[in-house]
């Protein structure tokens, strides 16, 4: 069996007296889309924040591509190929759509300590950026200011930024958050095209999307992983049905 791309072992985190991550163990295999679902406040985003490095865990270990990254800062993890999107859209509003993505390309290609030459005119940065935008269906909006995009387009831009980082793992935090049905369908199509090209850890509320996309699903409640398995196994698990899916899956 291949080694996992991401391995989280016995990860724990407290906010004051509240245990938001409780002995979480979880892995993402090469080419796998592993979805983490759970009700609001289950600690899904907190988990992603610890994996991407925005939060330090109190205990446990995170290994990425075979190396321990538990103590590494955010930017180092990103430079090693850990790309994430945010539940609440996080883009550079006054930059153009293309520039948002070109910056991510720039982070991977050559030094950014270049003080001369116009970065906006560098084809070496712009063509890969445009390619990433094409993959998420935003190529025709490349010159718009990021702030002027619709909500669904901003969600797609987040994914394009992550793609342009040539990631070894995509951490997607509710990529469908706040989108309408049409936009969500379009994003699901995008994610499906990315699936198996990249290992993905997906945190998502949209159950239709999760069951359509995931190879494996972990259900998280009160900071703990309740169960893990294929979509069919999870759907059939009486514990899950009782605790969470019951009302949503009717």
């Amino acid at each position: 069996m291949a080694d996992p791309v991401l391995r989280i072992e016995n990860l724990s985190k407290n906010f004051g007296g509240l245990r938001v991550t409780d002995e979480v163990t979880l892995d993402v295999m090469p080419g796998e889309l592993h979805a983490v679902i759970g009700p609001n406040g289950a600690g899904k985003t907190t988990l992603i924040n610890q994996v991407s490095g925005l939060l330090a865990p109190d205990a446990g270990r995170i290994a990425f591509a075979g190396e321990d990254i538990t103590g590494l800062p955010v930017h180092t993890r990103a430079a090693r190929g850990l790309a994430r999107s945010f539940q609440i859209t996080s883009i550079l509003p006054r930059f153009s759509v293309l520039e948002n993505v070109a910056l991510a390309v720039q982070a991977r290609h050559g030094s950014s300590f270049r003080f001369f030459g116009s970065a906006a005119d560098e084809d070496e940065l712009n063509s890969p950026a445009l390619a990433a935008l094409t993959q998420v269906g935003l190529a025709d909006r490349a010159d718009a200011a990021a702030a002027d995009l619709s909500h669904g387009e901003k969600r797609a831009l987040e994914i394009a930024i992550a793609l342009a980082m040539e990631p070894k793992l995509l951490l997607l935090d509710e990529p469908m958050a706040g989108t309408g049905r049409d936009e969500a369908d379009r994003l699901v199509a995008v994610l499906r095209s990315l699936k198996s090209r990249f290992p993905i850890m997906l945190v998502e509320h949209d159950m239709t999307a999760v069951f359509a996309l995931a190879d494996r699903i972990s259900v998280m409640i009160y900071g703990r992983i309740l169960t893990s398995g294929t979509p069919d196994e999870v759907r059939a698990d009486p514990q899950v049905v009782a605790a969470y899916l019951g009302d949503e899956m009717e």
Binding site: A78, F86, E99, L103, Q106, S112, F115, G117, S118
Partner: protein, 329 residues
């Protein structure tokens, strides 16, 4: 097809020109002023506009920090002071050549920016303002206590800087054009920096530092480098100021002077570079005009600034843009 390509490239040329009309006009005006000045109060006009250009250099460097990086430095005058004192102190030891004093001025301000930037840039917002102010005041008080170099009273510079032994700064007109060249050079350098890969990361950090971190940039390093560059450019302004006034004083780095620089940048319009030049000119020329009218000119100047802050968001440049928009329809 060929027509389309042609018209789009000429459109690009037009827009390139349109974006640059104001800066070009500004620099042409600065370049031609000495010719005009020859027919009137030459010495007065030259020294006034030399002063404008020197502060424009400092305001430019502050705009680099505030306008493009949201690093609101309230201690920027310290860099001017360090540049000026480098000339003054070396002069007191009979070293007058710019080949030594200019690198010394740049190095002193850059080093100070580096050492304080390491600390300041770990803070954000109001704390950044406070800590830059604190460091600025520290240098101010050190200067006032430098008894061998005039202390509170400052230090007269007996000889203007020479360049490799030639007294190129000696005449007011020569000094004017040296300042002009420095302003033009600083302006172009800033524009190139802003557009570069480095500048794009730096600007991105203002937009969304969290996002920049998660795509792999340690924004702190970029901000520190820009802080050092900004400090060094202000140090250049200090070098020129000491030569223009033949005098160095702790007052150059008082916190009020840092406040003046902030006003210049905000008055002209942040994040445009030439706005900082316009702001410096507007500030100093208004000050000059009002102080000629009455001793209590600050009573008029204060409310004027309030009016600009309230009604001219985006500074004087913003007003110009809006007026043009209104005229068009």
């Amino acid at each position: 097809m060929a027509d389309v390509a042609l018209s789009s490239s000429s459109a690009a040329r037009r827009s390139l020109l349109a974006g640059n009309v104001l800066p070009i006009l500004l620099f042409v005006a600065f370049a031609l002023l000495p010719l005009f000045a020859a027919f009137s109060a030459e010495a007065y006009l030259l020294s006034l506009v030399t002063r404008v250009m020197i502060f424009a250099i400092a305001a430019l460097s502050l705009d680099l920090l505030i306008g493009y990086g949201a690093l609101i430095s309230f201690g920027h005058a310290a860099f001017i002071g360090l540049g000026a004192y480098a000339v003054g102190i070396l002069g007191a030891h009979e070293i007058h050549d710019a080949l030594i004093s200019l690198p010394a001025a740049l190095a002193a301000s850059a080093l100070f920016a580096f050492a304080t930037g390491i600390v300041c840039l770990r803070t954000k917002g109001v704390y950044f303002i406070m800590i830059t102010l604190a460091f600025g005041q520290m240098v101010f008080f050190i200067a006032t206590s430098l008894a061998p170099y005039g202390g509170d009273d400052g230090l007269t510079i007996r000889l203007r800087s020479t360049l490799a032994g030639f007294s190129v700064f000696a005449s007011d007109r020569a000094l004017y054009y040296v300042c002009f060249a420095c302003l033009l050079g600083a302006y172009l350098l800033c524009r190139v920096l802003i557009a570069s890969r480095f500048g794009r990361v730096y600007r991105g950090a203002r937009e969304n530092a969290l996002r920049m971190g998660t795509i792999g940039f340690e924004v702190y390093r970029y901000q520190l480098i820009m802080y050092v560059i900004g400090g060094a450019i202000a140090g250049l302004a200090g070098f020129l100021l000491s030569n223009a006034t033949d005098f160095v004083s702790p007052a150059y780095m008082a916190w009020q002077r840092s406040g003046d620089l902030l006003i210049m940048v905000i008055l002209g319009g942040m994040g445009t570079l030439h706005g900082a030049i316009i702001g410096a000119a507007a500030f100093l020329l208004t000050e000059e005009w009002l102080s000629g009218l009455t001793e209590h000119w600050k009573v008029i100047f204060g409310p004027l600034l309030v009016l600009v802050a309230v009604f001219a968001r985006g500074g004087l440049i913003g007003v110009g843009t809006r007026l043009r928009g209104m005229l068009r329809g």
